[in-house]
Assembly symmetry: C2
Homo-oligomer: 361 residues x 2
Amino acid sequence: MEVERPELILDKNIVLKNISMMKNKADKSGVIFRPHFKTHQSLEIGKWFRQSGVTKITVSSLKMAEYFAADNWNDITVAFPVNIREIDFINQLAKKIKLNLLVESIESVKFLSENLKADVSVYIKIDVGGNRTGIKADNINEIASLVRKIRNCKKLLPEGLLTHAGHTYQAKNKTEIKSIWNDSVVKLKAIKNSIDNNLLVSVGDTPACSVISNFSEVNEIRPGNFVFYDYMQYKLGVCGFEQIAAVLAVPVVAKHSDRNEIVVYGGAVHLSKDFIEERGRKIYGGVVKLFFESWSKPINNAFVKSLSQEHGIIKIPQSEFEQIKIGSLIGIVPVHSCLTVSLMKQYLTTDGEKIFTMNSH
Amino acid sequence: MEVERPELILDKNIVLKNISMMKNKADKSGVIFRPHFKTHQSLEIGKWFRQSGVTKITVSSLKMAEYFAADNWNDITVAFPVNIREIDFINQLAKKIKLNLLVESIESVKFLSENLKADVSVYIKIDVGGNRTGIKADNINEIASLVRKIRNCKKLLPEGLLTHAGHTYQAKNKTEIKSIWNDSVVKLKAIKNSIDNNLLVSVGDTPACSVISNFSEVNEIRPGNFVFYDYMQYKLGVCGFEQIAAVLAVPVVAKHSDRNEIVVYGGAVHLSKDFIEERGRKIYGGVVKLFFESWSKPINNAFVKSLSQEHGIIKIPQSEFEQIKIGSLIGIVPVHSCLTVSLMKQYLTTDGEKIFTMNSH
């Protein structure tokens, strides 16, 4: 492999399988599949989704919406509470595409109603227990009042109720994830029934979308991470290891035989500092052997022990340690692929193709 | 402030003060001041160092060396164990500038001796207790043998012994930091005395360089973070709050009065996920009020509680909570300014000037 420095290796076949797996589940359930593109951030990978029949997408910023709108994506949800300081940018985009924003306060709706120059659809952000943001699901009066405000504004169209049940990431097993899904669905449907049956119900997280097989209780799903998955999802039990599509190739720069540790060129600026905790240890990534066009299963008992700005320290069993040479490459399975992509800004596929993202340069 | 989305605000006057403080201490001690430029990654800020009389610098990658070499920096240390897969890049740079690399193994030295096409100076990386990388300081035989190998190669010039005492970041107070400094100095001088008195002794971390006033026991210092400092250094007690030069301005997008939390547009893709732990809590940043050309002292009992990809959740006392409006700006003091710069890629000074880094586009 002609890799001189850290490079994010992507297996296109796995990506295509992940896309069609989720698309098929959504189709069978008769729901809208609006994948979150913040994970891959790439026009090229967007085209793979388009080829599978996807026409509506989710992004995490207006800049990302603009990037994809330039490639003819024209129904885009920005799944982030509207930032009213970007009103000019909102107006510019809303003139070109069907732009869907998230609101959760009277203040934001008031500001939009006074400053919008084109139609915008809005989802109301509902907090089903993630406790990050959104109106609490049991606060039906506040939600109803916000819907009325929205209806009173000519340029705002109420699209639906949206949630991101991020607490599935803290779940201990599939049963807990399923129970969070069920709980979210019950809460969102209760709001819908008591306010307006035309409101769409949109849910999003990859853990739930991976373990639930029938989505027909909702109207739309917005998973993102499933396109590549990662070490966190694998350890959470929501994907198989063979579904992980991206691995960071890193050069080995030093070996420490007294403690079976290798030092690699690959740190926080490549992987981010997300970690999982396992048996009291922080783990910043899994470890695989790299082959020409694929990679091995995770090396048993090997893990990324720490990351500094450019360094990664990998703990590895004696038998494997001895086979690794200074100057060779090894693969790190990112704990959180979205952040790794955001940092790496481009991919090298196992077929040798370079793929760019909105941050490539 | 004309800020629509997260923007890294820089106070140039504080930066200049930090630079001259460290330069003066180095000059008084009669040691080489070779600041680490990985913190700011900017040609413009490099010029501020040059104006203070700096001529030698440290970087963390060959790419960064190339970036600064293009602006006539011609004595550059890449403070990272040499990555032999980049040999072509090394040869290219070594023909143009005095390039100083780090070695710590016979394998790397052998590879360099067979593949170098221009002279390269090398430092031997010594581990004084940080346990990240380098040859253990008490392993004098191995160090001596590596120095002999280096001397046997015509294109390799032994420059000195280099360490990064990263364990100062785990110190509990200034006394501990000073004791780590003293311990490092004793170890490095013992190696030097027993091998070759011409070897330079180069040490690096910002905590020690901030609390030590006389560096004359060593030959060179390489601090980087001190140029901006950050919340971690402030909490470690090695800088005053007024020495922190960079703050992330973020728009407020939601408020949750039931739990005195505000949601800002500013997350892991802007700040990184570095945190400090205080009284059992994870803290991802301090919080300040932003004025036109400066910022307040940290708001008491306010802190960044969590970060996801684009969201930050700030916990803030009731009295302050009520004054904050949706759409206003608030300042986050980064836990780790180096990583924040690497993610933000550019600065806006309090004078309204845009400053770019090697990753700007």
